[in-house]
Assembly symmetry: C2
């Protein structure tokens, strides 16, 4: 079995090659490639595959498709988040954002195409298990759309009176919960018990990202820092101070590991989480082993 990252890259490559096939407008096809490769850490799809493995996956092709769909939805949200009418960010993963490189019109369509491609990727893998398809489809949709998915979270950034809890749950928590839940569903396990684990991880990820936003050099995280302050977005460091944010992160990581449902390799999941959270933090910030 190839390692998780390799499986994710292979599934994403197949999806993007298909989207750029016969009849594709060339600039939009290039924008899709740019939006997805080279990737970031692919945290969400690797988490999905780790959960599928912990649930003794029996249909790896379905897990791969679910993982790729989660990452495509994430990439779509980044492309649209960076657009001039949103965060107006010119830098992403250390190079030009999609709209900065291809124009806002192409970026708009690229995000749309990635959302559709996420569902199409799932559809291609589905004939092997139509029963699991409907479940995975609904989890993907709920974690990315309205009211409680990423799009809903981004929608709170357009309000003057913000429900901070709904905002955090939807903007980051929903897709992490989606990643753990589709991993379980693809393996034929009940997805619901995996929700809390994913939500806590998502919140931990958000706090780690907040710390990086206030502390890292731009070169280190591949995007500008201080954006939350500039855009008036909630940030755990601005609210709790650095040591308060680190304590909060520690508690969330411990809460996440405590909420791993019974499965065949909870220790493997715990190790993965600690490595991933540490990777997000600035080099001089060390988390205690959970």
């Amino acid at each position: 079995m190839p390692d998780a990252l390799q499986r994710v890259e292979t599934a994403l490559t197949a999806a993007i090659v298909g989207a750029g096939g016969i009849g594709a407008p060339p600039r939009l096809a290039a924008a899709l490639q740019h939006a997805v490769f080279p990737g970031g850490a692919r945290i969400r799809p690797r988490l999905c595959l780790a959960v599928a493995d912990a649930c003794a996956e029996d249909m790896p092709g379905l897990s791969d498709a679910a993982a790729a769909a989660i990452e495509l939805l994430h990439c779509a949200s980044l492309v649209h988040d960076d657009m001039p009418c949103f965060d107006d960010a010119t830098l992403r993963r250390g190079r030009a954002s999609v709209h900065h490189r291809f124009g806002a019109n192409v970026a708009l369509l690229a995000g749309d195409a990635l959302i559709v491609l996420a569902f199409e990727t799932l559809g291609h893998a589905a004939p092997s298990s139509p029963q699991r398809l409907a479940q995975i489809l609904l989890i993907l949709a709920r974690s990315s759309g309205m009211p409680g998915g990423i799009v809903g979270g981004q929608g709170w950034e357009c309000e003057t009176d913000v429900d901070l809890g709904a905002y955090a749950r939807a903007k980051t928590g929903a897709l992490f919960a989606g990643a753990t839940m589709v991993g379980a569903a693809a393996a034929g396990a009940e997805p619901e018990p995996w929700r809390l684990f994913g939500e806590r991880l998502g919140e931990a990820y958000q706090v780690a990202d907040d710390i990086a936003d206030t502390r890292s050099g731009a070169a280190e995280i591949g995007k500008p820092i201080g954006r939350d302050l500039a855009l008036g977005r909630p940030n755990a460091v601005l609210r709790l101070g650095l040591s308060g944010a680190l304590r909060r992160l520690q508690a969330l990581v411990e809460g996440a590991t405590a909420s791993i449902p019974p499965c065949r390799d909870p220790d493997g999941l715990r190790r993965l989480i600690l490595v991933e959270v540490q990777r997000l933090l600035p080099k001089d910030t060390v988390l205690r082993a959970a």
Copy 2:
């Protein structure tokens, strides 16, 4: 059995109410409502239901979901098409376009949410027939995404060197073909024989729309006229003259009716088409009965 339009409105209402549920950011929820209601002629979803009926539908809930999904994808494309970075249209269906009313950031998210909602709507109806779900899912994705769906068609509008055939097939033909094919698939019939019928109808619709763009008053069609000329888009009247465009439309309608696959009520479908095409044309332009 309620009539087709009523079924479409009921299914769309359920979808939009769900999307605006607990945790929804209020402005984005209002934008979704504005994007979908009051609707236009709902040509695509009514065509979908007409085909499902012609194929002796046995799961009306699944047909309704497929029809609603087609219309939600269409509405999403209109919202994003109207945005400042695209056509920059302030008027749609006789009132403010979504970005003009709610801002470009909310319009961006509204289109995203509608795409996700299309797939979610299908997922809700799916448990009744998981076998048909994968087929419908793939048709929806291919007719809306890349390379050959609406998004692909819009992508050609961002190129300097345009493949006019691919552009027309993707921009309008794909979702019409999607509408006829998901109608068949929802009824348990083979969808592929219904593709050509849908494609020809899509092309006929585009020519009728081109005629309206050059001839109608803005009040009559609910959006500005002369946009194709202003935006440098292909238009059958500009290319063939009015009488040439009308001859082309006549030929396409006849071609469409000739390509209706064997089914239990081909005459009903023929009548529907003629009424719908006539409805699109300016009042002083009359099509001969096919």
